[in-house]
Symmetry: C2
Subunit: 441 residues, 2 copies
């Protein structure tokens, strides 16, 4: 195995979201100092060598270059389209609320209040949209992110895949009680084979999937190497695609006992979806959701060298389209004049998964949460639930506040534990503000 495969890369970094923060943002340049537009990555004909970002040299996902890369994945690697179809985008009305920037909240485990506007800098936000009752009340873009641009959703991808699976369950095309091997026989000998589809969808499988980055033999590197679309180095003998990798995954512990956030589960779920529908997850996402949502842009997914989309983290999409997806879910699957998802899919997500199984994963800042259909469910008084991706990607739905927040970010620390303290109270502060504005005077 050459050096190249031991360097952090995007595919591998996507796994980090379950890890506690091992570095503090204070160790890094600020959002303003690391602004990718200000630094001028890839500007010039040609860009100067010190501002060049290449996929093959492995540095594209190192901070601060990563702040450019998250908005330009397609320029670095092969991708497939997620077509919106050809009709006109659905409208998203604006009812901007200038009061939001000055809202204050107190970050978790802090005594010092912070404004909403400050939190965007603190969290290295690339773009953020707040919907209230379906209208845009707040919208900002930073750095190289533009309204007509697409940004890596990272592990928010998983939520799309889990939602598609739940929809196929609602349609009677998938049985959550059946074993994974009964859908994909090639996985029979792997740890996934004996798990039920439900365990896969809720990540309670007992699989060995080490994410210890200090260990060159960690499974996370094998997964990244298998999915890397570049030609394999001379002498490489490992798996050469996501599907080949999944067949090598060994068991560890029992299925169904504890929540373990492991990206490989979503890739295995993606395989089930592809096998049952005869479509890639990118085609399925287009057919089931994107063509009906009134999306204003196509989305896209990165692929391995065999054309398999990276179900665990390869989706890229526009910020307002992410918000549209959230609004559709908030409205029980009905949006843009169509019932896109079955209402019971959303009910099942909102009810959440096992809080007991979730607690065993030990997320200090996510006390009482659960994980269902690849959504993170807060079980807070407002019944909020969210999608999360490394470096601060978020889709947050607060049904009581009738609020949806879509955020893209490029926080220097991959694990969301590094930004939750200034994210979750901030989102909740906006929710309360919007609820108060609605309350009878």
């Amino acid at each position: 195995m050459s050096m190249q495969w031991n360097k952090p890369c995007a595919a591998a970094a996507l796994f980090l979201s379950a890890m506690s923060a091992t570095a503090l943002a204070a160790d890094f340049p600020s959002a303003a100092e690391s602004d990718p537009a200000r630094l001028g990555w890839m500007v010039g004909s040609p860009p100067p060598e010190e501002r060049m970002i290449r996929f093959a040299d492995g540095s594209y996902f190192q901070f601060p270059a990563m702040r450019w890369s998250v908005a330009h994945f397609r320029q670095l690697m092969p991708t497939v389209n997620v077509s919106r179809g050809l009709s006109a985008p659905g409208s998203l009305d604006k009812r901007l609320d200038e009061g939001i920037d000055d809202l204050t909240f107190t970050p978790t485990q802090s005594d010092t209040p912070m404004t909403w506007a400050q939190s965007l800098q603190e969290n290295y936000t690339d773009g953020i949209v707040v919907l209230h009752q379906g209208d845009i009340v707040y919208e900002r873009y930073f750095g190289v992110m533009k309204p007509e641009g697409q940004h890596g959703a990272m592990s928010v991808t998983k939520t799309f895949i889990g939602t598609l699976a739940a929809q196929l369950v609602a349609e009677g095309k998938l049985d959550p009680a059946r074993s994974v091997a009964s859908y994909v026989p090639e996985l029979a000998a792997s740890a996934f084979g004996s798990a039920t589809l439900r365990q896969l969808m809720d990540m309670t499988t007992g699989i060995r999937f080490s994410e210890d980055y200090s260990d060159p033999n960690a499974d996370v590197w094998a997964h990244a190497a298998a999915g890397n679309p570049l030609p394999k180095p001379e002498g490489y003998t490992g798996p050469r695609s996501y599907y080949e990798f999944l067949q090598t995954v060994q068991s560890e512990g029992e299925h169904g006992e504890a929540f373990h956030y492991r990206t490989a589960n979503t890739d295995a779920l993606g395989w089930v979806l592809a096998r049952v529908t005869g479509r890639t997850v990118a085609e399925l996402l287009s057919e089931k959701v994107w063509r009906h949502l009134g999306a204003e842009q196509d989305a896209y997914m990165s692929v391995d060298s065999t054309g398999t989309p990276f179900a665990g983290g390869g989706l890229n999409l526009g910020l307002r389209d992410l918000a549209r997806f959230g609004e559709m879910v908030r409205q029980q699957g009905r949006y843009n004049g169509q019932q896109i998802l079955a209402p019971e899919v959303v009910e099942d997500i909102r009810a959440g998964g096992s809080q007991e199984a979730f607690a065993k994963a030990g997320y200090a800042q996510l006390d009482g949460w659960s994980y269902r259909n690849m959504w993170w469910v807060t079980h807070n008084p407002q019944g909020a639930f969210m999608a999360r991706g490394v470096h601060g990607q978020a889709l947050y739905i607060d049904p009581t506040a009738e609020m949806v927040i879509a955020r893209f970010a490029s926080h220097p620390v991959s694990a969301n534990a590094a930004n939750d303290a200034t994210t979750l109270p901030a989102f909740n502060a906006v929710a309360r503000y919007l609820m108060e504005a609605e309350a009878p005077q």
Copy 2:
């Protein structure tokens, strides 16, 4: 240099359009036999090995796999988006004419009439749209090409770049009499340096650019290797980007004497555009044309490892969007309620270039034609002009017939000489048919 670089690849194949056909279509399976949907390339989870298409193994552009690849370039290599913006697509009304399929014409140098419908099979057509007075009168898709799909435009890309350059001339931002070196000093020592911008735009430069595929030292391989986005093989010492390659091009003959169809000219023109505007040609195409055209899809361009779009042949776009572009040009630059190109740009294209210079290139089937702003001008009685790309890509504008034809194809022979005999008379037959339908009874 490893074997890999000596295999034909897309970038290299783009150069072939000026060559005479060295193989006959009769040597290949028919359109129906080689239908990529029927052959099932890249279908399955995973696709079977004998139906797998990978970029790195170099076979993706060999017939018949190539018939799948031309509609899936982004899945094989890195690309950049050409944004349509976020507004609703412009309408394209349908007024289908069922009579077109049965039109007959006689292929060049043949005595046997052929129907229009037959010609589509003969030419391995992937998709074709005929506009008359701006309405769709004919539209067909074959194989894996879909209305919401994007197809490689191959050298039709050049026409977009040449048109952008002509537009910048009209805006006073480029002076066609100035030397290339005065815009891009890095090209001063190359053969391009002393050429005028006009010579570049009309491909009358005197440059050494061998396209002899039997010669492993031909320039065409060096160009392809430089632009290949994959990591360079161990020991590779050649140019590592399109821009680096262009600086190595040597002179051969005098500038301004003869038309020589050489892709490197367009890449050099792309460099001038990027330097003068501070934008990549992909960004420029979006800003100047795509955002105003009412395009129904984003387009995209392949890039080298430094993010430079392949100006000579890297554009991919939807078929109806190609037709929209043609209709805009037919209408003197005015379309979708906007004056998108200056009318004098279209006048300059229609007037054509030097027929004397063109004749020296010796195209047997293109007698009396000329080349201007990277358009092929027929100088026929109707004043038709066209964009051409290898394997049958075409945009044909007949101002007299008020007709635009956009065609994507995957003909087994790259050079258009192999399909012109059943293309040019067929297009003209439809033009005459549409003119007759308009004539007073």
